[in-house]
């Protein structure tokens, strides 16, 4: 995809996100933050593809270690974020 399309995608996503998130009440701001936090672990996709090509690089061992670390960090972010959010949300009751 061309850079222009990607930039447009970025802008549109930001605006949609802004709109949707504005509707979340402050009551739930902490779970919102930890939940969106988990989403920022979407970088796991980049970590996976980058690690996959790392073995073709000039210094494959070092690059694969870096890729492995990237996957671990992103996955901690994803799983930790979602589980913590779930724990918190389940406490909210009338």
């Amino acid at each position: 995809m061309s850079p222009l399309v990607l930039v447009i995608l970025f802008v549109v996503s930001s605006l949609v996100g802004y709109k949707v998130i504005s509707a979340v009440p402050s009551l739930l701001h902490t779970p919102l933050m930890s939940g969106s936090n988990a989403l920022s672990g979407i970088t796991i996709l980049g970590a996976l593809t980058a690690t996959a090509i790392a073995r073709m690089m000039d210094n494959p061992v070092l690059a694969q270690i870096a890729g492995f670390v990237a996957i671990v960090l992103a996955m901690v972010n994803v799983v930790g974020g979602f589980v913590v959010t779930d724990r918190m949300l389940r406490m909210f009751h009338r």
């Binding site: 990607l6 996503s13 930001s14 402050s26 979407i42 970088t43 974020g81």
Partner: protein
């Protein structure tokens, strides 16, 4: 034909599925608008993420690579384990740390992409040819990710007390920060221009520069500014993911990263508005209004250490319960209840019929708050289905570790000072042990008859389902029958017990667990103790205002009990929450939700402010700057113009604070001047709130 090449409207199947993941993610966030749907919304986000991972593995043809699976397994295990271990109080540092990990991952992805782009061997195999756009975004991703990683670690360390939460401010700091940022940017630019040989070195230097900048960025932020910082880092972590998405041309990363970036930005804006700062000031480093010379950081830096130390020593202020100060007018069962150290509640189907579960919960809480050991004994056939009583009580938030099975609780009745039976009949009928030939003979029962005193809340004294007379229903000095609808009789019982005497009050401040009462800050009441207790007792409309001091003192549970107590007195109790109370957005909400305060009692600043004028009582627990009326009047001070909670408009204000020093902003709070309208209860909030409850129950 390869499915990946199936083209619909110019998009591959992977693109379409990826788009659905974005929709699922955004929809999940939309469902977070209401607590009722939020749990499912979060789940939807998680599922979308899982699908996105699968799509990537399949469409890139890398699903068979063991290294990837190993990394994901390790990350999942660590993430899951730490998410279950973390306590609600530690949530700010957990969130900060997770932000940092996401940022760190994005930085590494950008680094690898940059290096792969400059690698001839990769280009020859994959045909990958990175343009300038991808390279620039890779460098940007590296920098933003690096800043997020180190900044979040510093923020987390401050929040966790590993570092002093005082702002680190020194001469020429702004210049240094800008210089580091500039050097980092130049290094990044150079790594774009240089050949393959120096690329690695330059990229690493760029990463190091951004890590240093992240540290410098975060150390100058003090404890009270943490909500802004954590929100901003949250936004950064999204932006970092989005930028690295540009570098690898992955629309999913770009889109979801942007959503997270927007989310963090909104929270940052809300925090800024609430703290009277502009986003520009925050981004340029003016997050901290304090100069180190008069850093009155007592509410942030020193207190956590102090309270942790106190937890260990856990000196109790509980006097030995001085029983026997009863006036003759007090009925025996009320006296027994007030002095009881060990209480067992036995529910039966009558509780369900009378819908008295929440009253049972209130009773349990009341005994808890008086320092008694309260358990619930559940007979296997109590109710109409297996576990019926457990479900009913769980629904009203009785902790399940209070619920005991028959075999476990039966040995304890002999020690119990008091048993309260609510609508149970056959399952406590001692005739089961003695009355041969009756239907219940031989049936195992709960041995309530062994307790020192028994209160039975039953509809009437007729035999239960089995038709066998219950000998406990004979009037005796040991048994008190409260007949009628259990919801009514329990409310009456609660009121009578709370009507209180000296012994009950003394018991009321006994710590119920090891950490509640701290020794170091002895609670002192600065004004005379008499008047305000009556005011609190008679208040019909109460607004509770929590602040970070409540979190430091771990006084949430006490605040909840106090709220319950005031509600039992018939008061209308609300909680007013300032947007920046605590250390992250929504901090107070989470702490109070954890102790089962219903969320419809929690009000945002704009909603609660008009109500203070009508309120009989504003009860401030550990909040300072956010209620400081000087914000309206004291021009030139850091808080001037900051929106505050108008507690000063209430008819009476009770302030539970550690001391009367100014808050984080360093501006004296005029409410701390003694007056007929304001009562100051100084010391550890968990102690002062308990004391207040004890005083209330004596009156």
């Amino acid at each position: 034909m390869n499915w990946k090449e199936a083209i619909v409207l110019g998009l591959s199947l992977a693109d379409i599925l990826g788009f659905l993941c974005v929709i699922g993610t955004v929809w999940g966030i939309k469902m977070m608008s209401s607590p009722a749907t939020a749990v499912r919304g979060n789940l939807l986000g998680a599922v979308s993420m899982a699908v996105a991972i699968i799509i990537t593995l399949v469409s890139e043809n890398i699903i068979g690579q063991g290294l990837l699976w190993a990394g994901m397994a390790v990350g999942t295990a660590i993430g899951y384990w730490s998410a279950l271990k973390v306590t609600m109080l530690q949530m700010p540092q957990m969130v900060a740390l997770l932000n940092g990990l996401g940022g760190g991952s994005s930085a590494l992805v950008s680094l690898l992409t940059l290096l792969a782009g400059g690698s001839a061997s990769v280009a020859s195999v994959t045909g990958l040819n990175m343009g300038m756009f991808e390279q620039i975004t890779a460098v940007l991703g590296l920098i933003v990710g690096g800043v997020t990683l180190s900044g979040s670690i510093v923020a987390g360390a401050k929040l966790h007390g590993l570092m002093s939460s005082r702002p680190v401010v020194f001469e020429g700091q702004r210049t240094l920060n800008n210089a580091v940022l500039a050097v980092t940017a130049v290094l990044g630019a150079l790594s774009l221009m240089m050949g393959t040989g120096t690329l690695f070195v330059l990229a690493m230097l760029t990463l190091i520069g951004s890590l240093v900048y992240g540290v410098l960025f975060a150390i100058r932020v003090g404890g009270a500014d943490m909500p802004i910082t954590v929100s901003l880092l949250n936004s950064f972590s999204g932006v970092a993911a989005s930028i690295s998405g540009f570098a690898i041309s992955n629309p999913l990363l770009i889109s979801i990263g942007a959503v997270v970036g927007a989310s963090g930005l909104i929270l940052t804006q809300i925090m800024c508005r609430a703290m009277n700062r502009s986003l520009g000031q925050v981004l340029s480093g003016a997050t901290t209004v304090l100069k180190p010379a008069h850093a009155t950081d007592k509410s942030t830096a020193s207190a956590p250490v102090r309270s942790r130390g106190a937890e260990v020593s856990s000196a109790s202020t509980a006097p030995t319960a001085s029983a026997g100060s009863a006036s003759p007018a007090v009925p025996a069962h009320i006296q027994a209840a007030r002095n009881a150290r060990k209480v067992i509640v036995v529910p039966g189907y009558g509780m369900a019929l009378a819908q008295a579960q929440s009253d049972v919960k209130a009773l349990i809480d009341m005994f808890d708050s008086r320092g008694a050991d309260v358990k619930v004994g559940v007979h296997p056939v109590a109710g109409r289905m297996p576990g019926h009583m457990n479900v009913l009580l769980a629904e009203v938030d009785v902790a399940y570790d209070k619920l005991y099975e028959m075999d476990d609780i039966n040995p304890e009745f002999a020690d119990a000072d008091l048993v309260v039976v609510v609508g149970a009949n056959d399952v406590i009928n001692p005739a089961a042990n003695t009355a041969e030939g009756t239907p219940i003979y031989g049936m195992p029962i709960l041995n309530v008859a062994e307790a020192k005193h028994i209160v039975i809340c039953n509809y009437d004294t007729r035999p239960g389902y089995a038709g066998v007379e219950n000998p406990l229903y004979q009037p005796s000095s040991k048994v008190t029958l409260l007949l009628g609808d259990a919801a009514m009789t329990l409310k009456k019982l609660l009121a009578d017990i709370a009507a209180g005497d000296g012994a009950g009050a003394a018991a009321g401040i006994a710590p119920t667990d090891g950490q509640a009462v701290s020794a170091a800050p002895t609670a002192t009441t600065s004004t005379s103790t008499v008047g305000y207790v009556d005011i609190v007792k008679q208040a019909r409309k109460v607004i509770v205002v929590p602040g970070y001091g409540m979190a430091l003192a771990q006084a949430q549970a006490d605040v909840k009990k106090l709220m319950d107590m005031l509600e039992q007195n018939g008061a209308d109790v609300k909680v007013g929450i300032h947007p920046v109370a605590g250390r992250m957005p929504g901090h107070m909400n989470v702490l109070l939700a954890e102790v089962d305060v219903a969320y419809d009692k929690l009000y945002e600043m704009d909603d609660i402010n008009p109500e203070f004028a009508d309120a009989d009582l504003a009860l401030v627990v550990g909040a300072n700057d956010v209620i400081n009326p000087a914000a309206n009047t004291a021009e030139g001070t850091p808080i001037y113009g900051m929106p505050i909670l108008n507690v000063a408009e209430a008819k009476h204000v009770v302030i539970c604070n550690y001391d009367t020093k100014p808050g984080y902003a360093g501006v004296d709070n005029p409410l701390y001047k003694p007056s007929s309208k304001v009562t100051l209860l100084l010391g550890d909030a968990a102690v002062t709130v308990k004391q207040l409850m004890a005083d209330l129950s004596t009156r």
